[in-house]
């Protein structure tokens, strides 16, 4: 490279870095930016065998849930974000389009039951994962998180963080419609 051409190299390199940083500023405007994309999308829901909250003798596995789609909502009585989104989850459950299954994560059963009594229980069923091992299979790393699983047991959508009406309207419902169209 000739010496005169080489002088422009630092400016060019800086231009590239600046463009990248500008992209970074642009991307950081999205509040959902830090959410991890799930590697489970398009794959079968992980196998599990969990007791039901309040009825520990009764156990549910992923095979039991096949046949109709379901929304798996991860929550805990200790989680403030879950309380935030609870009304939204309840409203969606009321539409009865897709059954909503609760996934009570790392919670004392007494606390969880009391929380449901206080804030309402929109769930068709609540699974209790006390030690958190099943949650790891789902790639859950915080609450609230929500999964949409189709009738065949494949994970089609995941949302990290509290859901809002906008989330339901713009993201979940289109997914549900796609499933119903099949």
């Amino acid at each position: 490279m000739s010496a005169s051409r080489a002088r422009w190299l630092p400016l060019a390199a800086f231009g590239g870095i600046l463009a990248l940083l500008a992209a970074g500023v642009w991307l950081s405007r999205d509040p959902d930016r830090d959410a991890l994309p799930s590697p489970l999308i398009g794959k079968p829901a992980p196998a599990f065998d969990l007791p039901v909250l309040g009825d520990p003798e009764r156990r549910v596995t992923q095979a039991d849930l096949r046949g109709a789609p379901y929304l798996l909502n991860v929550w805990g009585s200790w989680c403030p974000g879950c309380r935030e989104e609870h009304a939204v989850v309840a409203a969606f459950a009321n539409t009865q389009r897709v059954r909503v299954i609760g996934f009570n994560w790392k919670d004392e059963p007494g606390d969880a039951t009391r929380w449901l009594a206080q804030f309402g229980d929109p769930y068709a069923l609540v699974l209790a994962d006390y030690d958190g091992r099943a949650a790891i299979e789902w790639g859950i790393y915080g609450a609230p998180e929500t999964f949409l699983v189709d009738a065949a047991g494949t994970v089609v959508w995941k949302h990290v963080g509290p859901m809002t009406d906008a989330t339901i309207r713009e993201q979940l419902l289109p997914q549900v419609e796609r499933l119903e169209a099949r």
Partner: protein, 641 residues
């Protein structure tokens, strides 16, 4: 009333900065002496006004004036007095005001100490510095006003982040900012030289002490940050390759390269263009660091609260300053063929290698820090780049540097017969290998790291000692300040190598559940948990443990790790208890309460960890000592062309 005066002071400082930029630069262009003469007074005015603003903000904290939003967000009625002073730089706005004040200090210092500089040069240098100060002041006033009021006034403040209520917090940011902003001086000189079209040794001799001192302050700032993270964050590490740490390390690496490059250019007249470019790059990296920390573009453990609009402002500022400088460089950089010729085996070549390795290391850190962002932007997914990457590549790049280091001082300029330095250093190489082998076989664990650390340290220390001996034995042998500084700096590297590699290889950590009365044994040491009691502090409550450290029956130390809950926000902090030592640190932290009076207790034994910071301080000392060399202070009035 006072906060409004503070705002006015800042606005007036902005005016002074505008005057300091426009008048001298135009004056230098057109040869208007009165305009050029405006530079110094403007610089002093700016200093006085920013000092007033800073004093007013400090007063607001001391008086607990919660009607000022920034004070309300970073203070609390229970906050101890000493932390009210340091809370001034605990958040974004205040730390930016500190940065602006430090810039003004450097500004005034250059104005004061520049009697020997020709007027045109001084005018250009101060003009460029004025522009930088202008940008920061504008950013402060228009997007991050520390004097903004909050109405209605809250009765209680939110409190200073408990992590920052700590002595280390008092000194770390100012040192860091002094270092970062100090690089503005060689930057301004480089721009002035490019504007002038003439680059000669005079400007270099003038700039060198400023560069060395800035670099020394930055070294101290980084070392303090590392030490503070070590004892405050409860994880026992001293460096995490976190984006914010990398943001300070990049200008440090570039600054180290700059120090060496300036030495070559001053003494041999070679590589002017490269030295100019490095000066621009080092300050650009300081600005980039400011951007990364305050914009929220990268997720990090200790960045300030993220704000994309602020990020955009700094980005535009960065684009103008760095882009403008590099454009000027592309158009005006001096010809490559300057300076005295030299052979392939010469100190010049070694210094080129030094620069290549340091710059490559800096580029590697930049690449690794920005790569997750790049991958995200290109939709390649979310990936992490962490210590396994940085540590490995840094080791690979620094190994040749450490190997070549002792050759540098012993190789003469222009042409050297390779066998001569080889002959002088061979005994030290042998000694290093013997020491390494001994270390390898006696290390209880991590033999390779221990051996590498010992080998590197003995090699560098021995080679440096050999240089000192050669120098003192030569006729008229004296060590000037510059040489002494270099020796101290290189010895600092040797000490640092011991700390960094040996602590990695030899550190031991255990975490167990203990009931009061039970103990944990590591080697010869037993740690007995006597109990955990409730304790009340000025603005917190804590569970305070008592752990006795015994060797056999002998009580070696009583340690008090704590878990504090701060009254203001309920935040819980782990206060570790450390027994420092030259050969090792003993580090005890409380984990969670486990019910039934049992507690999780974590003990780390960290051999030689203090050598990390001792090495850094030696390097900083070297930087300071070099700057005092009489050659730099000899006033030489150059005839104006």
């Amino acid at each position: 009333m006072l906060p409004e005066l503070g705002q006015i002071a800042l606005l007036l400082a902005l005016v002074a900065a505008v005057l300091q930029t426009v008048l001298p630069l135009l004056g230098a262009q057109r040869g208007l002496a009165p305009w050029m003469a405006a530079a110094r007074p403007a610089a002093y005015a700016q200093w006085a006004l920013t000092f007033i603003a800073w004093a007013i903000l400090t007063a607001a904290f001391v008086q607990q004036d919660f009607s000022v939003r920034y004070v309300a967000e970073n203070s609390n009625s229970l906050l101890p007095m000493v932390y009210r002073f340091t809370a001034v730089w605990g958040g974004h706005e205040g730390s930016l005001l500190l940065w602006v004040f430090v810039l003004a200090c450097w500004n005034a210092a250059v104005a004061w100490f520049s009697r020997s500089l020709p007027d045109v040069v001084l005018a250009r240098v101060l003009g460029v510095m004025g522009a930088v100060c202008l940008g920061f002041l504008a950013f402060l006033i228009f997007t991050s006003n520390p004097f903004e009021r909050i109405l209605p006034m809250p009765l209680e403040g939110r409190d200073l982040n408990p992590l920052l209520q700590d002595p280390g917090m008092i000194v770390h940011p100012p040192m860091l900012y002094i270092g970062y902003s100090g690089f503005m001086v060689p930057f301004a000189f480089a721009i002035a030289a490019l504007l002038d079209g003439k680059v000669d040794a005079h400007w270099l001799r003038w700039t060198r002490p400023w560069t060395n001192v800035s670099w020394a302050f930055l070294t101290i700032g980084i070392a303090l940050g590392s030490w503070w993270a070590y004892y405050e964050l409860g994880w026992g590490g001293w460096w995490f390759w976190d984006p914010v740490e990398n943001a300070s390390f990049m200008p440090w690496l570039a600054g180290a390269a700059l120090i060496h490059s300036q030495a070559v250019t001053e003494k041999r007249g070679s590589f002017h263009g490269w030295t100019l470019l490095l000066a621009i790059a080092t300050f650009s990296l300081s600005l980039l660091g400011a951007f990364l920390v305050r914009s929220g573009v990268l997720t990090s453990v200790h960045s300030f609260a993220a704000d994309p609009t602020r990020g955009l402002f700094i980005l535009v500022f960065l684009g103008l300053v760095v882009g403008g400088s590099l454009l000027l460089y592309a158009l005006r950089a001096p010809d490559g063929r300057d300076g005295k010729p030299f052979a392939a085996t010469s100190r010049e070549t070694l210094l080129l290698a030094n620069n290549l390795l340091l710059v490559a290391a800096c580029a590697m850190v930049l690449l690794g820090t920005l790569y997750p962002l790049l991958a995200d932007a290109l939709n390649l997914g979310k990936i992490s780049v962490g210590p396994p990457y940085f540590g490995l590549l840094f080791l690979l790049l620094m190994t040749p540097l450490v190997l070549l280091l002792p050759f540098g001082p012993l190789t003469r300029w222009q042409n050297e017969d390779v066998s001569r330095p080889l002959r002088m250093l061979l005994p030290w190489a042998v000694l290093a290998l013997i020491a390494a082998t001994l270390a390898f076989f006696t290390a209880p664990q991590g033999p390779w790291k221990v051996a590498m650390g010992v080998a590197g340290a003995v090699w560098v220390a021995g080679g440096t000692a050999r240089f000192v001996w050669t120098r003192l034995r030569a006729p008229g042998g004296r060590m000037g300040a510059e040489m002494t500084g270099m020796v101290l700096g290189h010895l600092g590297i040797s000490v640092f190598l011991i700390g960094a590699l040996l602590v990695e290889g030899l550190n031991v950590q255990r975490e167990v559940a203990l009931l009061p009365g039970q103990s944990l044994t590591i080697g010869r040491d037993a740690f007995v948990l006597d109990g955990v009691l409730h304790h009340v502090g000025p603005n917190y409550e804590s569970d305070r443990g008592t752990v006795r450290m015994l060797q056999g029956d002998r009580l070696v130390a009583t340690l008090h790790p704590e878990k504090r809950t701060y009254a203001s926000g309920g935040q819980v902090m782990t206060e570790t208890a450390i027994r420092p030592g030259v050969s090792r640190d003993v580090y005890v932290a409380l984990g969670e309460p486990l019910g039934g009076g049992a507690w999780a207790v974590r003990v780390h034994i960290k051999p030689f960890v203090r050598w990390v910071w001792a090495g850094a301080f030696l390097m900083a000392l070297g930087g300071f000592v070099t700057a005092t060399d009489r050659r730099f202070r000899r006033p030489r009035r150059e005839r104006t062309a």
